[in-house]
């Protein structure tokens, strides 16, 4: 074993995932693909363990550019670890599925995300950034329905746009500073703004978030698990790398933490509810990055780590429900706990983690960001985050669990989820509980040492439990009075209206106007040509004006006039 570790020292874990993904894409045999989905992450994990020293490895010299493909430091290592872990857990969860496209794409996507995190320069980051876009889109296309196809195209267009912004920003940045390095950037320059926008698109900034609740609910069951893990957390990493301490991020993060709650409460598609809950979680991380102190940055990293796991767990449970019932609509589900008890328990564990219940992973991570806000004396951020997490966000995850597993039974005669799915969910659920109890294991991975931080203080636990009980009480009351959840199959308009209706309508109107214009030009040209042709015909046809015989006197007169004109022109011409 030590020999293997010595060989793997300094080898980027990304390559193991990408190569395994490419092999899986090409392998026609399902058992081979499934083995690759487990072996790839295992080797990547070995490579992660093998590289003890922080530093830059895997430098590719391309003349004027030096590409740093493996920068291993305290910030990147925690992100890489959780990406590898979730790739493995997804490999287990997806063992039942027979889909070459998603098997290969999931691994390449994971590898691209790991590669992007380990990038030491903006060009390498751009390469892996775009690879995440290209590799993740098949996870939506694979769902097969026309609406999934359209959603996949929209998703791909927006992700590629983010990459274009990144490349443009990087080029301007390099021209201004002479460096392609992927370090602190700031928003003082146009390049910085472009890069912030590029990262913001993937992080789900307000009004740039539309792709997230649009695409995730339309992916395959496995696809939504993988999608929830990588893209957005990669963006948070990029923000932490380039924009830590940027004050604007606090405001942006707070908006992200609050506005999705209302949408999560009214969405009928439970995976869309989770997509909005995911934006809320991202808001916490963005606030942590914006606060910029060590505690808050640790909080952002810790939230990214546990958030990948518990949101994946929630999507896994709904993937299992989708697999068995064929739907994840709140109006069509209910009472599944009897037939799918293990899945139900996993969903409850995931929900408790999302809500930040003590002894679950969400609590030990969120409390870091709250402490970071308190440390920075940002009371407004502190209060809003408290409301957004324990007070209100709890409602939306309770809604998912209640609508799917409890509530009014919809008489779905289903079996428990396949065992491989259960195993994948159990692994994620175990981590949710383990990291909540043995929080030191998580804290040791964080970028900055916090040996003296204790989340389980009496006042902290007591206050949190009080808030959660209050939230649960409101939920129970609202359910009791039939005020919640809303039971109707509908779409709630969000910012996606701007491009799905307004933009689409404008494009259709433009197309129609263009067609009208072309038709009008065509008609006018045709008529003009016909008129010209008729006139020429009138002039030159055998009976036309120029074919007639003229009297000699008249012709002599015309000749004299033309000669006189030539004489006059030559007389007054400057050449003469």
């Amino acid at each position: 074993m030590p020999d293997i570790l010595a060989v793997l020292n300094g080898v980027s874990p990304a390559w193991f995932l990408i190569v395994a993904g490419l092999l899986a894409w090409g392998a026609p045999w399902s058992p081979v693909r499934k083995a690759l989905m487990l072996i790839g992450p295992c080797f990547a994990l070995l490579a992660w363990f093998a590289t003890h020293e922080t530093g830059v490895y895997g430098v590719i010299d391309l003349g004027p550019f030096q590409l740093e493909t493996f920068r291993f430091d305290s910030l990147s290592r925690i992100w890489v670890l959780v990406f590898i872990l979730i790739a493995f857990i997804n490999g287990v969860y997806a063992l039942h599925e027979r889909n070459r496209m998603t098997d290969g794409a999931a691994l390449i996507y994971a590898g691209a995300a790991v590669g992007a995190v380990l990038s030491g320069d903006l060009l390498t980051l751009f390469f892996f950034w775009e690879l995440t876009a290209l590799a993740s889109a098949p996870l939506i296309f694979a769902a097969g329905a026309p609406m999934a196809h359209r959603a996949g195209l929209r998703y791909l267009a927006i992700q590629v746009l983010s990459g274009v912004l990144l490349l443009a920003g990087a080029a301007v940045w390099a021209s201004q500073t002479g460096s392609w390095g992927c370090d602190a950037i700031g928003v003082d320059s146009a390049a910085g703004v472009m890069l912030l926008l590029a990262f913001g698109v993937k992080a789900g900034f307000p009004l740039l978030h539309m792709w997230l609740p649009d695409a995730y609910p339309k992916a395959t069951g496995v696809g939504s698990v993988v999608l929830s893990a990588f893209t957005t957390k990669l963006a948070v990493y990029a923000l932490a790398r380039g924009f830590a301490g940027e004050g604007a991020l606090i405001a942006i993060g707070l908006v992200m933490a609050v506005f999705p709650i209302v949408f999560a409460l009214v969405s009928n598609d439970l995976r869309q509810t989770l997509a909005y809950a995911l934006i809320n979680q991202l808001g916490f991380m963005v606030v942590g990055v914006g606060l910029g102190n060590e505690l808050a940055l640790n909080g952002a990293a810790a939230n990214a780590f546990v958030g990948v796991i518990y949101m994946a767990l929630m999507f896994m449970t709904l993937g299992a429900v989708l697999h068995r019932t064929g739907t994840v609509k709140a109006t069509e589900l209910g009472g599944l706990f009897k037939s799918m008890p293990v899945t139900g328990v996993c969903a409850i564990i995931g929900a408790l983690s999302v809500a930040g219940v003590p002894l679950f992973s969400g609590f030990v991570a969120k409390t870091l960001i709250l402490s970071g806000a308190h440390y920075a004396h940002n009371d407004l951020a502190y209060a809003i985050l408290v409301y957004a997490s324990a007070g209100v966000m709890e409602l939306s995850v309770l809604k998912v669990v209640y609508c799917a597993f409890f509530g009014e039974a919809r008489h779905h005669q289903v079996r428990e989820a396949p065992q491989t799915m259960l195993l994948g969910m159990a692994l994620a659920a175990f981590l949710c509980v383990y990291l909540g109890v043995d929080y030191r294991a998580l804290y040791e991975l964080l970028p900055f040492g916090i040996d003296d931080y204790e989340p389980y203080k009496l006042n902290n636990v007591f206050g949190q439990v009080q808030l959660l009980l209050g939230g649960a009480f409101v939920f129970a009351l609202a359910v009791g009075f039939k005020l919640f959840p809303l039971k109707s199959d509908h779409t709630i308009l969000d910012a996606d209206w701007f491009y799905r209706r307004l933009g689409d309508g404008a494009a259709r109107w433009g197309k129609a106007m263009g067609e009208l214009l072309v038709h009008a030009i065509n008609t006018a040209l045709t008529a003009g040509v016909a008129r010209l042709r008729a006139r020429l015909f009138n002039l030159f046809n055998p009976a036309g004006a120029l074919s007639r015989e003229f009297p000699s006197g008249l012709m002599a007169l015309w000749t004299a006039i033309m000669l006189a004109a030539v004489l006059l022109v030559s007389y007054f011409s400057p050449m003469s």
Binding site: V266, V465, L467, A472, L483, L486, I492, R500
Partner: protein, 105 residues
């Protein structure tokens, strides 16, 4: 009214009835239980808050009631939002031409 013992099922009627009654009122019981816990929590905090038994060291008193209000407001706002911005479930699909007239999503 006396419940007849069902010999075939072998279930003790009073036990089954109680369990059924509890099950049918589980929501109400849970709500009452949660309400009691919330009140107890505030009571305990009121008694102990001199020593700072609060999540918010600088703010005491009714501060922790506000998230309860926020929860209620969020539900009200959600209902308002649903009323204002709701469209049929296949709104975008139909607009984009993925679904034709008479076709279901």
């Amino acid at each position: 009214m006396t419940v007849q013992r069902d010999i075939k099922s072998g279930v003790n009627p009073p036990t089954g009835s109680l369990a059924e009654r509890i099950r049918s009122h589980a929501g109400l019981l849970a709500t009452i239980g949660l309400g009691v816990l919330v009140v107890l929590g505030f009571g305990l905090e009121t008694v102990l808050s001199k020593n700072g038994l609060s999540k918010y060291p600088d703010v005491y008193g009714a501060y922790e009631v506000l998230p309860l209000v926020a929860g209620v407001l969020a539900i009200a706002l959600a209902r308002l939002l649903a009323g204002l911005l709701h469209r049929p479930a296949d709104f975008y699909e139909r607009a984009a031409g993925d679904l034709e007239e008479g076709e279901d999503a």
